[in-house]
Symmetry: C2
Subunit: 397 residues, 2 copies
């Protein structure tokens, strides 16, 4: 009788974590491991953001408002205005990371058994929140040959049932780096209006667009009640540890419901909110240098990958991820093998097998995700390794 | 078709929040409001705890381990050892506040529709987490006349069905201040062993015991697989805004399941963990002064309350709450009235009506909860107000 819950059993372990013991073993053998597997940026957190926390001078570390500090929310309104998004501070619930924004959106809009359509491949942790919320993710395929563009309207509509409550996109996308166009957003608008669905838009990587400009779901006209923006400062300001995100919507009922979930957990982290508020005072050109650095890394990674025989990597428009197909039988096996049985000049590479990002069993078997969170020199070394590793892997007996 | 979820509708709003507009209106009229309604301590956060955050010197605000920093978990082992609780650092998942520990415990051990028995009155936010997890709280009555002692074994067993998976206690208790005895814990042990149930023990207020010493559920022998400790630094170190708690259990399956929920949300807050770790270096006598202060407040509050005609307040053994029954028709009405229509020497009192802490409709109608988070002088002034208010309330036409 003393057993864990079914949902606990269903809860997926991190797909990347399985490889950690192999990376650790490689390091113990003295091998340098290039971590292109996770989205932890190596960019320094802005000094002024850390200083704001370090110079804070309150006496009691109190709960904040459950929706987050009003001063922070008011300042965020200006940030979004500059991004072409018109909201009020009362449209915002500050959350504990983007993670909590995703969970609150699912909990507020979907019941157990309800369905949410997500283009696949998708951010693996959506699975975890879906299990926590008892919600069913219905994947709809996007393809590497199309650069992971939005699936055609017919493919999306085909997935709609009477349990469908929402469509979830990540724009620009993790894991593909795909940047949705304004036209694709308009397509989604048509669908959510026609079928009475919510549109959850995870815009964690909004500031990192290299080819084209970002068009937010919040900029769509006439669907204010449908759109829920899920946001975070984690990647934007290299502040993953702050655990500060936001759920934003003009739908009052959804906002008030999310806030009830927020009240139960009392408040988002105090120090993280100070960091988030300080980040809004960064100079306008703050993202320029970071974006230039990421773009250089992307260009290096993608061009190196496409020069390797049998490898194909579409050029991602944003975020700091790229998906590539490799000439291997099974990328999970290959990602383990390269850590366990291979090194080149004392170095190897850790990648994320793509299967963990697909909801459809068997999809993405030849694909891997690269997070270009290392500098150009490291990317070159990692690509040297990968090139040699693919040769060696495919000439094994 | 565009509607919020049923669980979103079920999600309770904060029972205390309803009165906020009345408190704000009173303040606008120039009336001083004594806030005895919420558990936000006025005790200053230890300087060394805030300094640890202010003197932190990393360059990148990174994700931590999903279970929390290992250095912090290792140090916590020593804290618990000193409290008579023997655990290893791998028995701990650091959570985002005690709130997340409660949610992870429910999610990991119970499925939607499963039942958890909770002595009532209980911490109102348990309702929120239960709705989020789809879990049914089955209240079992404890009574003010008994000082809110654990209900008899028969009353507890009567509530057990084939959907019962756990018993949840808060020790010392919020909202009653009741400190469970070792004997009562042994009773719970008998029940959870006999019926194969989990025992969730929320020990947020462990350090605040005035009458008797604390006996933790983790100190029970032979039920390691049953016990899940839910903890937080919020009240202990007056660090509510840090949002740092812990889920602790020797049941490996539960621990690993909770960790999967932890991985989905990536990590607990970085700055809060620094604060929590620094708190463990406080001198051994740190709680002495705080406890002495709370005890003085308790003694003041309880003795003043019991001197008011028709008022009864059992002497709480711990935490910083006391429940009192008042000679009123309906404490919700009274708590609103005292803010809306009463003042004495320009002052009034905000209390929490007890109905929000009961799962049984209609219970606690004459009771209110006091949080003695204000100094003795303020408590005296608040009691002067209350005394006059009760006279005035009951002599209204």
């Amino acid at each position: 009788m003393l057993s864990i819950s079914s949902r606990g059993q269903l809860m997926p372990a991190s797909p990347i974590r399985k490889l950690v013991p192999f990376a650790e073993a490689a390091k113990e053998k003295g091998i340098t491991v290039y971590h292109l597997n996770i989205g932890q940026p190596d960019i320094e957190t802005p000094q002024s953001v850390l200083d704001a926390v370090r110079h804070s001078d309150f006496k009691i570390l109190e709960y904040s408002h459950s929706a987050g500090n009003e001063s922070y929310r008011r300042k965020l309104v200006r940030y979004y205005k500059a991004a072409g998004i018109n909201i009020q501070h009362t449209d915002i619930v500050i959350t504990t990371g983007g993670s909590e924004a995703i969970l609150f959106a699912m909990m507020s809009c979907l019941d157990a058994g309800d369905e949410i359509i997500v283009p696949e491949p998708f951010y693996a942790n959506y699975n975890g929140f879906a299990v926590a919320a008892g919600v069913k993710i219905i994947p709809v395929a996007s393809y590497i040959k199309d650069g992971f563009a939005l699936p055609p309207i017919a493919a999306l509509e085909e997935k709609i049932t009477n349990r469908t409550k929402a469509i979830l996109i990540c724009n620009p996308n993790n894991p593909t780096g795909y940047l949705y166009s304004r036209e694709e957003l308009e397509t989604l608008k048509t669908i959510v209006k026609k079928h009475g669905l919510f549109l959850f838009s995870d815009e964690a990587y909004r500031e990192f667009c290299y080819t084209g400009t970002h068009f937010s779901a919040m900029q769509l006209e006439g669907v204010d009640d449908h759109v829920i923006l899920l946001d975070t400062i984690s990647k934007r300001y290299s502040s993953c540890g702050a655990r500060i995100g936001a759920l934003i919507t003009k739908n009052r009922q959804v906002l008030e419901t999310a806030l009830k979930f927020g009240q139960a957990r009392l408040s988002p982290p105090a120090f993280g909110q100070i960091a988030g508020e300080a980040a809004l005072d960064l100079p306008n050109d703050y993202f320029k240098a970071t974006k230039a650095e990421y773009r250089l890394r992307r260009d290096t990674l993608v061009s190196r990958l496409n020069k390797i025989p049998g490898v194909f990597c579409p050029n991602p428009g944003g975020a700091f991820y790229a998906m590539a197909s490799l000439p291997v039988d099974d990328s999970e096996k290959f990602c383990q093998w390269i850590l366990e049985s291979f090194s080149y000049e004392g170095q190897t590479v850790m990648m994320a097998p793509a299967s963990g990002f697909y909801g459809t069993e068997g999809s993405g078997r030849q694909e891997v995700r690269f997070a270009y969170v290392l500098n150009v020199e490291a990317i070159h070394s990692a690509m040297d390794c990968l090139e040699k590793a693919l040769e060696a892997y495919n000439s094994r007996v």
